[in-house]
Amino acid sequence: MRRAAIVTREISPAALINEVQSREWGAISLFLGTVRDTNDGRRVTGIDYSAYTSMAESELAAILAEAGDRFGDMALVVEHRVGSLALGDVSVAIATGHHHRASALDCTRFVIEEIKKRVPIWKLEHYVDGTRDWVDPARAGEVTRR
């Protein structure tokens, strides 16, 4: 079982765990990215996520294939949500089932790091003072206020 998708609905971590669960695995690793209330010292009220969906799903598929090459036999399910998310909402979830814990954890880490480097998804943060900014991780601390 390997699956990745961009979704517009709420992500259910329990559903992802159910998908990867199997008696084959000695470990299931779950990563959740969630919307936090502060970024770069500014109070955040919510984030609009958008994507180049067809390319994002194609990059996610490539990441899953690369994870298979690196970590071998496993189950891996990835969902990234787009749309307007509130504080605490789950924006991305990665569930990995593997024979052993080290590979389950390493694979999950590999997938989220690759997503951050190459999957075309963008964040428009909204702040309590009514301003908004596009997040550019390469320019942390240097954003253009809108």
């Binding site: 958008s50 951050k116 075309p120 963008w122 596009w134 997040v135 550019d136 991780p137």
Partner: protein
């Protein structure tokens, strides 16, 4: 002379005020040629020194040729997660 439709997203779409740009592209033109033409347009100040470009949903080098019918997009700094 032909034109290429370039998709824009997020901060780039806001800066150019469009979701698509029609850019002139000579036959055999490359991604680098396309970027040079885009830089002449209002709103191009948003582009970094080396903007990422996708051709047919894959990241492309500046040397990659663009053929008619290719799906071309300018990719702002990604921020998934």
């Amino acid at each position: 002379m032909s034109t290429v439709t370039v998709q824009l997203f997020a901060s780039y779409a806001e800066s150019f005020g469009e979701s698509f740009l029609k850019i002139r592209c000579e036959p055999g033109g490359t991604v680098g040629d396309l970027i040079r033409n885009i830089r002449t347009l209002p709103g191009a100040h948003v582009l970094p020194a080396s903007p990422r470009v996708a051709v047919n949903r894959k990241f492309a080098s500046t040397e990659q040729r663009i053929d008619s019918g290719d799906e071309v997009a300018l990719i702002p700094p990604v921020a998934g997660g």
